[in-house]
């Protein structure tokens, strides 16, 4: 019954960033640009943003000045493909079409670097997922995936990160699992990684199959998570255990 009360209490509460569940020292590491290792990728992204690439001989910076606020609004609807697109996907698309440059694979270092450079420009801004009704079906599928039990351990995202957030799995505090810090520097990875990588972690953790990076299932989950964490500040590059 104690748990039921806890659940009811959480349902009414505001979303809680994983930052609030970290030690004072990790919070300080995240907040300090001179100690946050994710800033190494940020700096690389800044350099890549200025670099001319591809047959078009254009740099990102030739078209884009400030991208403040952009990351807070992704994933968005992409009319060209009539599908949702996340920030990394948008950068891939821009690179292919505007720069006519060789594709950067998901989770590659340059794509993570460019993504975190753009995402950081929204640091401190509230996650504001677009209300575009065309996103609604995919977002609903994402919510269904979030609540779907899977894998040999037969657990859903929601069972841990919604119904049992704040409790301890072994010694690890279960966070609410919000998507406001990506790409993030995860100490476990000793590297920067995307939300898709983190989702993949959980899927394999419950001994389930994990779709390939870029798969529609991830986009759908990303859409739902953006809605679920609406209002939380963008923290990219967040630091997480």
């Amino acid at each position: 019954m104690r748990w039921l009360l806890l659940l009811l209490g959480m349902a009414a509460a505001q979303p809680r960033s994983g930052t609030q569940d970290m030690s004072r020292e990790l919070q300080a590491m995240q907040a300090d640009d001179s100690a946050n290792p994710g800033m190494l990728w940020m700096q690389e992204g800044e350099a890549l943003f200025q670099r001319r690439e591809g047959l078009a001989g254009k740099a990102c910076a030739d078209c884009h000045a400030s991208l403040a606020g952009v990351a807070a609004r992704y994933p968005a609807w992409d009319p060209a493909t009539a599908a949702p697109i996340d920030l990394a996907g948008r950068i891939q698309q821009c690179r292919a079409e505007r720069q006519q440059a060789a594709p950067l694979p998901r989770e590659s270092e340059p794509l993570l670097a460019l993504t975190v450079f753009v995402a950081r420009q929204s640091r401190g801004m509230a996650l504001a997922p677009p209300a575009d009704p065309r996103l609604a079906p995919a977002r609903a599928r994402g919510e269904a995936l979030f609540r779907q039990r899977r894998g040999q351990l037969n657990l859903s995202c929601a069972q841990c990160h919604e119904e049992r957030a704040g409790l301890r799995l072994g010694s690890a505090l279960i966070p609410e699992g919000h998507a406001n810090g990506y790409p993030q520097y995860r100490l476990e990875w000793q590297a920067l990684g995307s939300l898709q990588r983190r989702l993949r972690n959980c899927m394999v953790g419950v001994r389930a199959t994990a779709p390939a990076y870029g798969a529609a299932e991830y986009l759908e989950l990303e859409l739902f998570l953006a809605q679920r964490g609406a209002g939380l500040p963008v923290e990219a590059p967040a630091v997480r255990p």
């Binding site: 640009d33 001179s34 100690a35 290792p37 800033m39 190494l40 990728w41 700096q43 690389e44 000793q190 590297a191």
Partner: protein
């Protein structure tokens, strides 16, 4: 070239103690970790870090596999005169990288 982040003031008053914070991208592969096939991945770490101020060494550190990936090292030095601070990281597999920053001391 490994990515490096250096944080130090561009200018300082003569005699002031300035803080220098450094990050360098490096896996610091410990030499104790098994790889995918179960065999131990060979050690690949940064072993030495030095900072010189107008050619004179003011700080040096010997690193071990117990230093985290993407090493962070922070220390202080006295702003003595205008000039150049030079930072060098050296390690396994002939790793060697040097970065410089100018400082104006008034």
């Amino acid at each position: 070239m490994a990515r490096v982040l250096l944080n130090l003031p561009r200018s300082a008053a003569k005699g002031a103690v300035i803080e220098i914070r450094t990050l360098i991208m490096h896996p610091m592969e410990s030499g104790f970790r098994p790889g995918m096939n179960g065999s131990i991945l060979p050690r690949d770490i940064i072993t030495r870090f030095r900072c010189s101020y107008n050619g004179e060494e003011v700080f040096r550190a010997e690193l071990s596999p117990a230093i985290a990936a993407n090493p962070f090292i922070s220390f202080t030095t006295v702003a003595t005169e205008s000039g150049t601070l030079s930072f060098t990281w050296e390690g396994d597999n002939d790793f060697r990288q040097t970065e410089t920053r100018d400082i104006a001391v008034t």
